[in-house]
Symmetry: C2
Subunit: 352 residues, 2 copies
């Protein structure tokens, strides 16, 4: 199935229309990490897998988890259930997911020899993700979009070099400032793989793709553009060259201070909750659609949700090119009733 640019054949994908700044009957909405532990259905699906990596590799289970929030919440887009770390995993790295703490990569990348051992054909091994996308697209209502995704080169590189999550990014930053050529080698290899991976996701049925840059905000401005954003742009250019009909969304956690210099051939800027929507609109909306960015902690309280949605509507209501989302992911202790309330409330408040 092919979606024409901004105009799905025979049915309305309001999510895609919003990405291309076309008029929509209301603001489309989905929630980052909408397939997650806050849903009992997700936990049941998860329990069918041997472990988290098995869960990611089981296309049937990944598809099941992907579809749950569509049925339960009524969001306008499904995002394929997976993890950004399947890329280093299939590049040949050991990745351990232990319950209740962050991922661990026990053999981190530190030398040129380490980089050379990484498999550049990882996108071929990620067949299970493409299979999951195919299952989802077959089972997804025609008016719902399917989003593919990947982590950004910088974000993946931090995990691969630090050996897991990090507080100060000491090792990867030390590399950035004392051996930048080595870091660039890693980032380039990752960018090539991620480009392959996202194009293959599109071939498998993704109607849009999002790149998650979770840790770019750890970098000062010059480094943010040198080691972070430039590789995001490179991937976007490659996708756009082959598939201009597919919207590309960039999520930059911590990019709020650098908005003025943000550029590239992508379609939608997804703002974190530290980036005032008003400022993002002022700086970026003439060139990009906007997605975001309610403070996730508002999910704890219905009155707080109402205020958050109304604030977004004050800024973006009536504009073409706005997708409601959170400024970061859903958390395990969030309430599904509040999530459903949010989705309905967005559709109602932004209706025209």
């Amino acid at each position: 199935m092919r979606i024409e640019r901004g105009c799905a054949k025979g049915f309305a994908l309001i999510f895609i229309d919003a990405c291309f700044k076309k008029p929509t009957p209301t603001a489309p909405v989905w929630l980052m990490r909408q397939a997650g532990r806050y849903l009992a259905e997700y936990r049941l699906t998860r329990a069918k897998a041997k472990n988290f990596i098995d869960f990611c590799r089981r296309s049937d289970l990944a598809a099941e988890a992907t579809l749950q929030p569509i049925d339960i919440l009524g969001v306008d887009a499904a995002i394929i259930f997976s993890d950004i770390l399947v890329v280093p995993l299939e590049m040949g790295m050991k990745v351990e997911f232990a319950e209740g703490r962050g991922p661990v990569l026990p053999d981190p990348i530190r030398t040129r020899a380490d980089i050379n051992r990484l498999l550049s054909v990882a996108a071929d091994t990620l067949e299970y993700v493409y299979d999951a996308l195919k299952i989802v697209r077959r089972n997804l209502a025609a008016d719902k979009a399917l989003i593919g995704f990947a982590g950004s080169p910088w974000t993946l590189a931090t995990y691969m070099i630090e050996g897991g999550g990090s507080k100060n990014y000491a090792i990867v930053k030390k590399m950035a400032y004392s051996d930048p050529a080595l870091l660039h080698m890693i980032l380039q290899k990752l960018s090539d793989v991620i480009g392959d991976y996202l194009l293959r996701q599109i071939d498998a049925g993704a109607n849009a793709v999002q790149i998650f840059d979770s840790w770019g905000g750890a970098l000062e401005k010059s480094a943010f553009f040198e080691f972070g954003w430039s590789y995001m742009k490179q991937i976007v250019s490659r996708i756009k060259m082959e598939r201009a009909d597919i919207p590309v969304i960039l999520f930059g956690k911590g990019a709020g201070g650098y908005l003025e210099e943000i550029d590239g051939d992508f379609d939608v800027f997804s703002a974190d909750w530290n980036t005032p929507l008003e400022r993002a609109k002022k700086v970026l909306f003439d060139r990009y659609a906007l997605q975001g960015n309610m403070e996730p902690a508002r999910m704890y309280d219905k009155a707080a949700i109402e205020i958050g949605v109304r604030e977004a509507a004050r800024v973006m209501g009536g504009e073409n090119g706005y997708i409601f989302n959170l400024g970061h992911g859903m958390q395990p202790d969030f309430n599904r009733g509040n999530a459903k309330f949010l989705v309905d409330f967005v559709h109602q408040i932004f209706a025209r």
Copy 2:
């Protein structure tokens, strides 16, 4: 000893002059967490104490640690060695510092009854900090400034409510959105204590005070100003009412996205490394002196230090009202030779 506004009697405090935007022969420089584990001398002093809390409470040892970077690095200001968590500690909370991990507050504050149990007279108990300040001021060269400090109410509240460091600030944010009155009670009680504490530090010889807001950046803009900045401003106003001659520095980690709305009666805005100095200058320099903000990871490499200092000089060289510092604290694995190199290089590059 009293320092007149911007003009120390009989000797030059270039740090204080810079705070008040007066001409200085070069840019003053000090480094956040300059008294720290990267110095062998610090580790020796630390070893004389029974534990970290004992270290903070031993005025003689705290004074010793405070003075070390002055002798070793030649910085222009000493900052009293202590920890922001001595405030909750002396308000009656249990605070545990375990080597190699963050602090733990095993009995966190969650209810109005918890708040009522907190001692509002904590500033009286912090006599050991004032004693350390007195010892340092007696032993500090006349041309070196002594900085007192405290954590911001929001930052202390996050530790006190979460029970330690936090990734998502789920508990304190849940309180912010579902019971804001309770959070405001805590913040007001903390502000009163912190105001007392800083005024007492000034009485004991601090020539300037800095408030560290480490976690304000976790908040969306409206919450940042409601729960964070407003209490910083309140404390500043109180200090300025009593001691207009003492410069007040505010450090706001993660405040870079909110610069346009920053206000208050303080003197120096200390920028983190995510806040481009050029943007801080454009938005704030007509009202405030600036401090900061080299990316700390540049400390790993002399060439990277040179580039960082030259970049700061490109923006702030020749201006009155600039204090060189890092955008965050010194880390245990930093190199003292590089730190000394940095201080000398700043003095040289900014000399006029």
